[in-house]
Subunit: 387 residues, 4 copies
Amino acid sequence: MAFADIADRLAAQAIELPSWAFGNSGTRFRVFGTPGTPRTVQEKIADASRVHALTGLAPTVALHIPWDRVDDYAALGRFAADHGLALGTVNSNTFQDDLYKFGSLTHTDEAVRRKAVDHHLECLDIMDQTGSRDLKIWLADGTNYPGQGDIRGRQDRLAESLRLIYDRLGPQQRLVLEYKFFEPAFYHTDVPDWGTSYAQVSALGDRALVCLDTGHHAPGTNIEFIVAQLLRLGKLGSFDFNSRFYADDDLIVGAADPFQLFRILYEVVRGGGYGPDSPVAFMLDQCHNVEDKIPGQIRSVLNVQEMTARALLVDTTALRTAQDEGDVLGANAVLMDAFYTDVRPDLAAWRESRGLPADPVRAYAESGYQRQIAEERVGGAQSGWGA
Amino acid sequence: MAFADIADRLAAQAIELPSWAFGNSGTRFRVFGTPGTPRTVQEKIADASRVHALTGLAPTVALHIPWDRVDDYAALGRFAADHGLALGTVNSNTFQDDLYKFGSLTHTDEAVRRKAVDHHLECLDIMDQTGSRDLKIWLADGTNYPGQGDIRGRQDRLAESLRLIYDRLGPQQRLVLEYKFFEPAFYHTDVPDWGTSYAQVSALGDRALVCLDTGHHAPGTNIEFIVAQLLRLGKLGSFDFNSRFYADDDLIVGAADPFQLFRILYEVVRGGGYGPDSPVAFMLDQCHNVEDKIPGQIRSVLNVQEMTARALLVDTTALRTAQDEGDVLGANAVLMDAFYTDVRPDLAAWRESRGLPADPVRAYAESGYQRQIAEERVGGAQSGWGA
Amino acid sequence: MAFADIADRLAAQAIELPSWAFGNSGTRFRVFGTPGTPRTVQEKIADASRVHALTGLAPTVALHIPWDRVDDYAALGRFAADHGLALGTVNSNTFQDDLYKFGSLTHTDEAVRRKAVDHHLECLDIMDQTGSRDLKIWLADGTNYPGQGDIRGRQDRLAESLRLIYDRLGPQQRLVLEYKFFEPAFYHTDVPDWGTSYAQVSALGDRALVCLDTGHHAPGTNIEFIVAQLLRLGKLGSFDFNSRFYADDDLIVGAADPFQLFRILYEVVRGGGYGPDSPVAFMLDQCHNVEDKIPGQIRSVLNVQEMTARALLVDTTALRTAQDEGDVLGANAVLMDAFYTDVRPDLAAWRESRGLPADPVRAYAESGYQRQIAEERVGGAQSGWGA
Amino acid sequence: MAFADIADRLAAQAIELPSWAFGNSGTRFRVFGTPGTPRTVQEKIADASRVHALTGLAPTVALHIPWDRVDDYAALGRFAADHGLALGTVNSNTFQDDLYKFGSLTHTDEAVRRKAVDHHLECLDIMDQTGSRDLKIWLADGTNYPGQGDIRGRQDRLAESLRLIYDRLGPQQRLVLEYKFFEPAFYHTDVPDWGTSYAQVSALGDRALVCLDTGHHAPGTNIEFIVAQLLRLGKLGSFDFNSRFYADDDLIVGAADPFQLFRILYEVVRGGGYGPDSPVAFMLDQCHNVEDKIPGQIRSVLNVQEMTARALLVDTTALRTAQDEGDVLGANAVLMDAFYTDVRPDLAAWRESRGLPADPVRAYAESGYQRQIAEERVGGAQSGWGA
């Protein structure tokens, strides 16, 4: 398959950016600040608009509540529109209030659960105003020591709490439940794997789906298998893209294992998860602890685009033939041939044909934007995971 | 809780032995033979009867077809009964025929799938004769290289094949589908995790359940969480007990991480998976590559019994109170107190009160059985995974 | 072996407490505060003195510079002495200054390396005043992306920097170099494994040794093997005890895998690493994110003590015999017999015979100390990893 | 850097083939046979010669004793020479004799150790006749259960045994000691990590070096770091190339994580491990369980060559500049740029310029060799790990 054959399909790609990727992040050991880091959600949106302007790949920005809480979400939507963006997924947060030290939607105390549910209802209110489709729930709930909590009871309470949230969804809204292997809980996590997320959302209804974060699996997990399985079951709602060498490292997508990203995207395409009719949302969820944030996001969406192009280039007819013949090396070679194809020149030309810079990374560097924000954004508190 | 309070509950424990544990096993590097290894299924049953006679814990033996194929299963059942045992779970085998090199129930070739289905129907025929309840399916199906197979298509074919088998189940029979992280396939496995097994058996019906082998998970997986979840979902059918440090090591249960075994058994008890009314079958699935096989099995059932006793000793009232109060250390201490309790003297007395030897391991050593079989079983081909 | 035979050996046990365990800690997602958390190093020492007073196991406190920096270390030493404690290991910190964002002792910039070396020389100055023996170096140095740094060059610069520090050691002082698998760096870490630490300290000289933190290994690593090997090579300097399920979870030692702790301590004893003449320092390095800190430390030293008792109880004669005979199950049984022995009643009696409370955890709870500090320590900034 | 700049450096590449890769292999579950599999070492050499004839990359074949034992090694050498090959590394085998069930060079029984040492002396005798430089020692020694063996004592005996072997080395001969994380031993392995191999060979002398098998590490291990470290220490003797998703899967090199292979080869080049003066031997060690063996080997050497080309293409000047400037994204981009370069067309042209087929895989398929051996090699016992 030639690049010309896939060019149209690439045009439909959209990758949502997380507002928090533009703020500071780090590890428990240290969060390093950088000149120019946004102080407000508006500045985050302004930064995100640079990514989209240069790549055409990132038309929406996800919000995180309460980090991005404002008084007037309609106004925020207009602000985003003025920057060429729309507001996207709303992410809830039940892990930074003292109340949630021992759980949120799973807590033994009904009052705490109620407060956590109410927080999600507030998020849905915000979504009504922003026109967002997806409420994404990632829970930090879990325990650090065996016996600390009742695993079974917590799961039951989780189901009850999710039901209260799900029943409030508007007809165009969806609930996507993210799973994560571990961290910040170190013994057990209440939604640790795709099976748990699948079982929970299946009990809720059609508009509850699974969110797959590529960094949230046990070592050695075959993630593309999960992609294929969830697509088959009709329950893959969205991706949080990033990459990892060890744990939930939240590095730039494709940076740690580009071949894995290729295999994931191949299964997305294979299973009908790519394209205008697909219910699967693509999103980044990364931390730029040591690298520049805006070019980090640019690099990330380009990585997804380049690898999507390679996945689309797979000669599926030849692949199927080799598979059916038990030609192990031949089938593998079909996949590898696409993976090793250097799509970058074609993509550069494709970009230029659409009025985009051939090299968005360079275009950003030459734009002077980074220097400008470093000079302008003086004073105030830089955004981070706390605000 | 005192030992006297749990003694009655221990009486109900039954742990099925795998016939193949008495044969030779090893690694791809070498299978070491040992004097006295059974040549026939009858000799395996005779060995298994020693375990039950000395422990009272292992009243049934699982068969593996074709390894344990005989002409007359009714006669085999009488042979077992004469040795104080019943025949239990029937395990199918679709991994040793050249036909299955690229898959069995998932194969692209309908003729191969048909043959694999027919093998399972033969197993059900055998179960009709042996009176076995459970057909256990563990599949080696998978691929070694990306692209070698179509992950999604294989999953669909698996569903179709399982349907054909499930529909043949008798009213008292069950299908339990085992999952495994990897091996013998090294890129993708068709039933790699509990989520996949759960999704597949849920599509089949009430008598299809998940089999959890304690050695079949990714590093770091919280197995007791899966136990709690599957019990909650009503889909935990059986355990294959063994232990591991690295991969599917198939070591003696409790040998690698006794505390993990304790936590698993605590969740079994907590979730209603233990006792006469529980649908959960306990079974061993181990390889005694370097240690003596019969005492290895004795050690194993004792390990399960001892840890079950500790799990039953947990002061659940105190635990619940500490959990509800957010008393992390207190709740953990309740669990650890039971774990660190030395139940061995009480269990020895309990055994003697039931006409069993206080120390089954020593009783076996002193019985002379090992020397006897070493002397008697001369000539013939020792049993192993091939026969 | 009976408890009476090992009682004397237990008397010699000393486990150093880290001052920072009494401050707040958490994850990148949240650090929860708790009433009564120390604001000063003096309050940390006061808290540590409670642990020693109730257990007799923790006569020294490790300092972390700059978190515990004071004007007058002699005075601090007297303060500790007044509380029944001595000051112990000094831990350096080169991971919280902006300067060290891309490395400290390994940095490409000579000025940064110089500053990092100077920080260690300051630590040695402090050690001269506190009388501490060990300078412990744990480096956060590493990179997040392939290519970000030159792995080889960084290793060479590390060697040069360590040389400058080592050459400044006083005759009674030692340098212990800690290794860690990953975090906060996510692609490569400059001292990731025992082999690297061993190679680096071997190049320095006799007073440079390896520090083994039990939470700093790849999944599946046999830690007791490393203990045995380092003892054999004469290069095991100290332990940082804690436990983990996934990554560097820093949970209470013995909480995640008590059998592993037992095996580690068995190899310590086996290899001459335990006792008054041993050069091996025992220390805790933990985070009490969700549990109370002082009882968390009490629980930890008791766990080490209890497991040391079990390790000392191993019948080494029977073990050796079984090993030499190739009696796999017999040898394993010798070890398991010691592990399953409930040493808690004997230890309670042993404590009482030495004027200590039989149950230090309960004694602490009943002492009212926690309530007292919660009431008294109002205002000021609670200590954490930043101060 | 352009391809023309590196073409000369590629000419020097040589990758040794293992004779056993042409025989059957599999898992403990099943070894599948294939038509045309060699019955003799001569047939293995004939197959290996096809790989070299089509790629120019594989001028030597490694032997495995006793699998490749012959009466006349000089004649075998001439046979190889007639096929355009030389005999290379000799691999010992101490894992298939009943005597070694509980260890070989580490065994408690001096007579067993002696026999194992003698086997290595026999290998050295063979090397004298074949002119081989390297004796490669991979040990299966280890234990399955805690307590089964004395870890420390085994290490000491290993040192003694290795000394006896090392002292017999001829002046041009080397001993390379391979390490492996686990398998076939499941609790402890006597040479489990590079640190142990390094410590043992350092004690022997200059001609004892470490062999790094790319599949023998814990999950998540940064292998290129070990490469850089061993090169720095002057102790990297050889590579066993293969790839893995889970354990020691022995898949085709580059098949599981091509980017990792690139990073490894970059560090090889960076550290002076590549080129005519390098002491580092490149070798494959793989199992072609389900794919055709000869094209599997062809694919493997091509993968190494292609990735070596990419590693050589790295713009080291730009990389160094970006590293020194703390330009994380820029430095990473330099590496990724080389990785994503499609070197295949240039390599095809380069091959043709040297009289080799542009596409060796296709050339092999069209040669008819596979059909020929399938037809000719009828009867006899196919080679495998047992012979």
